[in-house]
Amino acid sequence: MKVLVCFLACLYALHAMNLSGDIRVGHGDYDSYPTESVATGELKVQLKNETTQVHAIAEFLYSDRYEQRRYALLRELELRRDIGSYSLSLGKTIRFLGALEGYNVTDIYNRKNYLLDPFSKSAKLGTWGAHAIVYLDEASVSVSVKLYEEDQKYPTYPTPYRFFSWHYDESLNAEQSRYSPSVLGVYTFAPTDFLEIQAGVFQGYDSKRTFSFSNATTIAQNAYRATKALLVLNAVFQESILKLEAVYTDVAKGKNLSDYVQIGVGAEHGMYNIFGTDLGMYGEYYHYGYLGESMKNVDLSEIYDNDIFLALKWNLNDVGSTQIKGGVLHDIKRGERVVRIESSSRFFEMFTVDAAFLQTLAKKDTPLHFTGDMQRVTFGLTYNF
């Protein structure tokens, strides 16, 4: 109620209002689960004047077949004020950290929205907290404070997006109070025109989670506290962009978890005007290293342990801005593979059509094996406004 009153007060104080969003109806065809029809959508309300901005984004998902894939939530609600070289914001927000295209090991601030799509980069949940940035000449310093750890929903059996075959108790087991703050500080600078560096530290609840049985058939999620150091590099080298993401995580003793490192390196190269079309090529490698004896394979992030990601993005440059993307994630150690091909095109300005194919070739009893259906085809129609 307080949130609503605050939002309405902001509506009154600010004048320029902007409404936007989309509604998508789609269909999913799965090889070992019944098909489903889904409706998804989001509504964004934005109000701003010269120094202050409020925006709220609500989203919903409705599956005609799978009850677990039904929700409506407030993804973001942010009040931002810019004062000179400072920018302060408060509320439920999403932050992005990273440079790579396939998987971002440094994108640790928000939880993923596993109900929507565990393999989508944009499927994230807002986090309650405060955020401040100070802009210097060619650099910036930001501090983000998470003020609350929310419960995490997962689709469980019998949905094609399942993570577990057991019952899941979505009440989070937090090491300390859920209100114990988590702090992320990031220094961003560019020593030359062609090199950008983000260096950060984090202290708080780890983005990686563990699971334990609360009874014989039910598991629950555990959030533990950790300290992280992270680095993101972006370098323009001739006609390519080279990228590095690295995180070192220090886990306190006594949790059956060792410290660990995650590294991602990659390169991106574009070829333009090939019969009027443009082609982007991406090659990336991810490594997950345990620095000691540890429970393993407890989180989806661990599937990126020794993997190569190769992808192409083809822009046809037609009036519908048709785009075709295809990528393969190949696990060198286990021989597992995820193949994804997707395409989208716009028509009548306000509508887009999309189609996607996902195939997971997983070995038995691996984290990837728990991610659900092995082959799926989806397509949909979106109205954008």
Binding site: S85, F96, A99, G270, Y272, E349
Partner: protein, 244 residues
């Protein structure tokens, strides 16, 4: 007789100039606006005449070593609030960043995309950038055809999508009227028409530009619906801090 003397005199004046001078004067005729805030509509047409619309807001600051610009996509709705920040460099590679609102992500773009399509149109990134005369070398001597200068220029940047451009520039106003662009292998590639200009605060501004790909028969038109110059825009407003 007087008319004949005038034409002969004018021809003598025109032919006394070289191509480089004409290119510089042409650039200067549209320079000096310091900063601008514009709203434009871009119409894309395919070979069958199907049309699609894009709307953009463009903020620019004029700088001697290369302009800074921030393009915010306004329409269609699925790309609304996507932003492109460009810092042009005359003798070096430009710097570019793309902000994707759905991911809250700012992504660095390599300047090799110069020849790539801008928003799936027939305009490439280098077509919409400032046409600074220092970016080209020129063919001399200058040709004068029916009160228009024929300026033949060659991009210095090896990443350009063009090998040669021929521009026809009005001999009175020094404004480009028509251009023929050749691809990297020297084939006739695009034709550009500067259909309308207007003077704002004594500076010429393009109002309507059409570009046609003669190889695919697709075309695109840029129309400036609103255009304001000498606008109060700070460098911070066209920097990475604007990408959110």
């Amino acid at each position: 007789m007087r008319k004949l003397i005038f034409i002969v005199g004018l021809s003598a004046v025109l032919s006394a100039q070289n191509t480089f001078d004409v290119a510089r004067k042409s650039f200067e005729a549209m320079s000096g606006y310091k900063s601008s805030l514009s709203k434009t509509t871009m119409t894309l047409r395919d070979a069958n005449g199907h049309e699609n619309i894009r709307k953009l807001e463009i903020k620019k600051i004029e700088q001697s070593d290369g302009d800074r610009s921030l393009i915010t996509f306004l329409y269609p709705p699925d790309i609304k609030e996507t932003k492109l920040l460009s810092i042009e460099k005359i003798e070096e590679d430009d710097l570019q960043w793309l902000y994707m609102p759905a991911l809250k992500r700012t992504k660095r773009i390599a300047s090799s995309n110069k020849s790539g399509s801008f928003m799936a149109s027939e305009f490439s990134y280098e077509d919409i950038a400032a046409q600074n005369y220092k970016k080209f070398t020129y063919q001399e001597p200058l040709k004068v055809v029916a009160n228009e200068f024929e300026v033949v220029r060659f991009p210095k940047d090896t990443k350009s999508g063009y090998s040669k451009q021929i521009l026809y520039i009005d001999a009175t106003t020094y404004l480009p009227r028509f251009g023929i662009y050749y691809d990297k292998v020297g084939k006739h590639y695009k034709e550009i028409r500067f259909l309308e200009y207007k003077k704002i605060k004594n500076i010429w501004r393009a109002v309507r530009i059409e570009i046609k790909n003669v190889q695919t028969f697709k075309s695109s038109e840029l129309y400036w619906e609103e255009d304001n110059i000498y606008v109060e825009i700070s460098a911070d407003e066209i920097s990475q801090r604007a990408l959110r």
